[in-house]
Structures are given as structure tokens and as C-alpha cells.
Amino acid sequence: MKHTGADTRIGGASGKFPATRRSAVLASSSPEPQERRQALEKIGAAYWKPVYKFIRMRWTLSNEDAKDLTQAFFARAIEKEYFKAYRVDKGSFRTFVRTCVTHFVVNESKYASRLKRGGATDRISLDDTAEPAGADLEEVFEKEWIRNLFELAVEDLRAVCVSRDKQCHFQIFERYDLQHTDSSYADLAAEFGIAVTDVTNYLAWCRREFRRLIMERIRQITANDEEFRREVGVVLGKKA
């Protein structure tokens, strides 16, 4: 009973998020400075690590050089309003960011090359702008982006648990779902001094919250419902 053919499409004419769920991608070009700053912070949180890893692997840079370039990229993106140029009909925001990073680093390397001719040192060789053989960098970028989103959502969950005095919930979630202990529900119940049904309920609560939080994170970095659905499929993996 598989349904893997052409997908049924459900959506309105506008295909936009409700106003209460403003996308950070859209808000990043808001004329309101406060909203724009908050949106760029959210985009930075979701992309700093994957961009850093991508730069480091793509141009085989040292840790410090890659960090400097990543920082420089986000500073330039904010200054020059790179993200304003994103068009959702041209592809995902994730692909757009990766393309921006590549262009940025190539331009940087050209600049560095000119400095080198004037006596300065070059961090990136222009020869290195070709794709290294054997490495699927797009996959690396996507994988790091996914991992980062999971990490952010877990941290969000931890913060929610602390704010609601549910630290025990989080500890059980951490032990059972994140660390893969061999402990059974009964073992965890004995260790934490709670009933087995509490372990079941705490885990169910944390998983439900985690689902909501990771969806929130994905929603922030997508521009409309269609892109959101697509990226949920990428982050959470297609079932069946």
C-alpha cells in the first residue's frame, strides 16, 4: 500500500505562513531593524556550523581560518543584505546560502591573490576553487545543516524543560533517545526513583515537544509552506 507516486498537493493560492508564524527568511529583509536583526540571528544559528564545516572541507582550511571566513561571510551577508536576493521559486534557501558562501569565498580568494602579488600572504589558492575529487560537499553541507538543527532543537527542549521544572523529563530523554543506553524503562524508573509509567509519559512528552521544536526551527528558515514541507522531508527523512 505504498503511495510514492506523484504527490497530492494541498495548498491555497497564496501558499504563505500564517502571520503568527513569520519566517526568518522573509523577516530578514524586513524594513524594521529589530525584526531584521532577530531574523538574521535565527538564520545565523541555523547556518553558522554547516557553513563553517563546508568552508573548512571545501577549501581544506585550518580551524581558525575557516572560523574567520565564516564570520566574515555572515558579516558581509548582513552588511550587503545577501539574503534579500533569495527567491523561493528558484530553489531552497539552504541551496541559496551554500551558493552565496561559494561565491563569497571565491571572491575573497581573488582579493587575497591580488594582495599576495603585492606581498601579502594568501590563505586560499585560486586553484582550490575547483571541487575536490571524491567529496560530495553538497551532502556534507546538508548533513551538517541537519545535525545542527537537531542540536538546536535538543537545546530548545532542554531550555523548555528547565523553564517548566521538568529536568527529570529531559534527563530520561537524553539517556534513552540520545545516548542509547541499554537501560530498559524499568531500569530508568529505578534509577530516577519514579514509576515505569512515568518514564513512558516523560519520554512521550519530550518526543512530542521535540517534534514541535524542530518544526519551529525548520519553519524559521523556510519561506513558505511548500519549502517547509520539502525541508521537513530532508531533515526528518522521507518515510516509506
Binding site: M1, K2, H3, T4, G5, A6, D7, T8, R9, I10, G11, G12, A13, S14, F17, I146, R147, F150, E151, V154, E155, D177, L178, Q179, H180, T200, A204, R207, R208, F210, R211, R212, I214, M215, R219, D225, F228, R229, V232, G233, L236, G237, K238, K239, A240
Partner: protein, 304 residues
């Protein structure tokens, strides 16, 4: 904190799997996913039988507060449609996590597109198609339009039974309607009035278009007479007024073709008409030909 690949995979599973604690169902596998819902293979631990359990996809539940109501509407629509050609619903309810679910018969068989890709003959495919028309006509008689008829939503069972699945975007005629501009369906099988979001124009002829598109798909790589292709073309005419008025009329025209009489959708020329009459009366024409041949032989023998 850094999360391992193993932890990511585990979290992916727990995000998708519905919380069935406190219910009589146990997940045994994933059956498939459509536009709105996910279908799991599950065991009904009370009745000891395999069922298909449908819930809303996490992304849809997140985006649309009404998604749960829509799934419940779908279960209620299925409950109204007791017909051998429509998958029967067993149960519906709300899970501990607030997610709505319903269970239905687990259909063993092949999707129509897979079935058609096999070695099925044209007459076999037409038989399946007629059963499909019957099920759709029954739904229309109950005032329900499927709106997403496509080969992927039709199952052909192990005993030749044909079941229409996925009533997730079905609508009740003269009932609650989506606002104008709402577009549901699958582009290749979607009637123009549906694709343009003109919901007030959607009626049973919208499904007739879907039937026409399915018939066209079934015949796409087969050698068939023009009259049969004309049936598909008439069913999926751009204007609803130019289509068959109902699924019953489509099935009736297919039956005319099978009976060897002219179909409504096609005006044959003299040659085609003669070829059809000869094909339908092969035995009589063979006897006449043999008789004439014998007369000719006798004539020559007597006048030698």
C-alpha cells in the same frame, strides 16, 4: 552538544511514529505517505488482525490546525461509503499526543500503476476500470466527490478486487466547502476547474475527468481502436459540459465497446463501421465466405 548519526536516526523515528500507548494498536511497519497523511501497518492486538493506520504527517499537523478535523472528516466519509470497491474504515479516535487516527482494512495487492505495468490485457484493464467506475459512481450517489483519482490511489487486490483509496481530499457536494482558491489534487489527473481553484464548479464531473485520465494512462502503451481512446478523451474534456455526465455513463460507454456496439464518444466512418461489424460477426462472415467460395468452385467444376 554534538548529536550522533544514530541519535538523529532514532529521533527521526520518534518524530514520525504516532504515540499509540493506551490503544489496542501496535506499529509493525510503514505502508506509505500521501499529501496529508501517513499510513502505517499496524496490528490490532484485540482482534489479532493487520490493519492500516492513518495519521496526519507531522509537517501538515504543524502547518494546519484543522488537519486533524480533516482526517476525521475523511474517516467519516469512508464510513458512509460501504461498497466493495471502497476501502472500509474500522475505527477512529484521538491518540494520547492529540493526533487523530483512523484504521482501515489493510489491502494486499498492487497499486493500479504497478498492476498496469505488468502483463495485463486491455480487456482485463477495462474490467478493472469498470469496477473503479462503479465505486466512484456509488460515492457520487452518496454526494461525495473523491477529487484525487489517480492510479496511485487505486489498489487491485489479490483476488481481482478493485479498491479506491485515499479519500483525504474528498468533498461532500452541497456540504462544507473550502474557500475559493484552495487547490487540492494531483496536477496530471486534475480537472481544469479544480486546478484553477474554482471550488464552486467542482462536481461529479471533476471525478469523471480523473477517470478519463486514468483510462488514458491504462491505454497509453496499448494498441486499441480510436473509439476507445475517444472515450478517455471525452471523459477528460477541458469543459465539464463536454464530458460524460457521470461515472455510470463512462462505464456504459466502455461496456458498449466491450459489446462491440458504437460508443457515444466516437463517430465511426464507413470502413471502421464495416470492420467492427465483421469483427463482431466473424463466424457468420466466415460461413458466408465459405459458402460463396464453394459456389464459385462448383460453378467452375460444372463449366469445365
Amino acid at each position: 552538544m554534538t548529536i550522533s548519526d544514530k541519535a538523529i536516526n532514532r529521533l527521526r523515528d520518534v518524530v514520525y511514529e504516532p504515540d499509540l500507548s493506551g490503544t489496542r494498536y501496535r506499529i509493525t511497519g510503514v505502508a506509505g505517505h500521501g499529501g496529508m497523511g501517513m499510513v502505517f501497518e499496524a496490528e490490532d492486538t484485540t482482534l489479532h488482525r493487520r490493519v492500516a493506520l492513518k495519521v496526519i504527517q507531522p509537517a501538515e499537523a504543524f502547518l494546519d490546525q484543522n488537519a486533524f478535523d480533516r482526517l476525521l472528516d475523511e474517516a467519516r466519509i469512508l464510513a458512509r461509503l460501504e461498497h466493495p470497491g471502497i476501502v472500509p474504515v474500522h475505527d477512529a479516535g484521538v491518540l494520547p499526543d492529540g493526533n487523530v487516527f483512523y484504521t482501515m482494512k489493510f489491502v494486499q495487492g498492487e497499486r493500479l500503476d504497478v498492476y498496469a505495468a505488468g502483463n495485463s490485457s486491455v480487456s482485463d484493464l477495462l474490467r478493472v476500470f469498470q469496477k473503479l467506475c462503479d465505486a466512484v459512481a456509488f460515492a457520487h450517489a452518496q454526494g461525495i466527490v473523491h477529487r484525487d483519482l489517480k492510479p496511485e490511489n487505486i489498489m487491485v487486490g489479490m483476488f481481482g478486487e478493485v479498491l479506491v483509496m485515499d479519500w483525504g481530499v474528498a468533498t461532500i457536494l452541497n456540504g462544507r466547502r473550502e474557500p475559493a482558491g484552495t487547490i487540492v489534487g494531483t496536477p496530471e489527473y486534475m480537472a481544469p476547474e479544480q486546478a484553477s481553484g474554482a471550488v464552486h464548479e467542482v462536481d461529479k464531473r471533476t471525478d469523471v475527468f480523473g477517470l478519463g485520465a486514468i483510462l488514458q494512462f491504462l491505454l497509453s502503451d496499448k494498441k486499441v481502436p480510436r473509439s476507445l481512446r475517444a472515450v478517455a478523451a471525452k471523459a477528460k474534456a477541458a469543459s465539464p459540459a463536454q464530458r460524460y455526465g457521470s461515472a455510470v455513463e463512462v462505464a456504459a460507454d466502455i461496456q458498449r465497446h466491450l459489446d462491440g456496439v458504437p460508443v457515444e464518444a466516437y463517430r465511426e466512418n464507413v470502413i471502421e463501421r464495416s470492420a467492427r461489424i465483421i469483427a463482431n460477426n466473424r463466424m457468420a462472415f466466415a460461413l458466408i465466405a465459405a459458402y460463396l467460395l464453394m459456389r464459385v468452385l462448383v460453378f467452375f467444376l460444372l463449366n469445365r
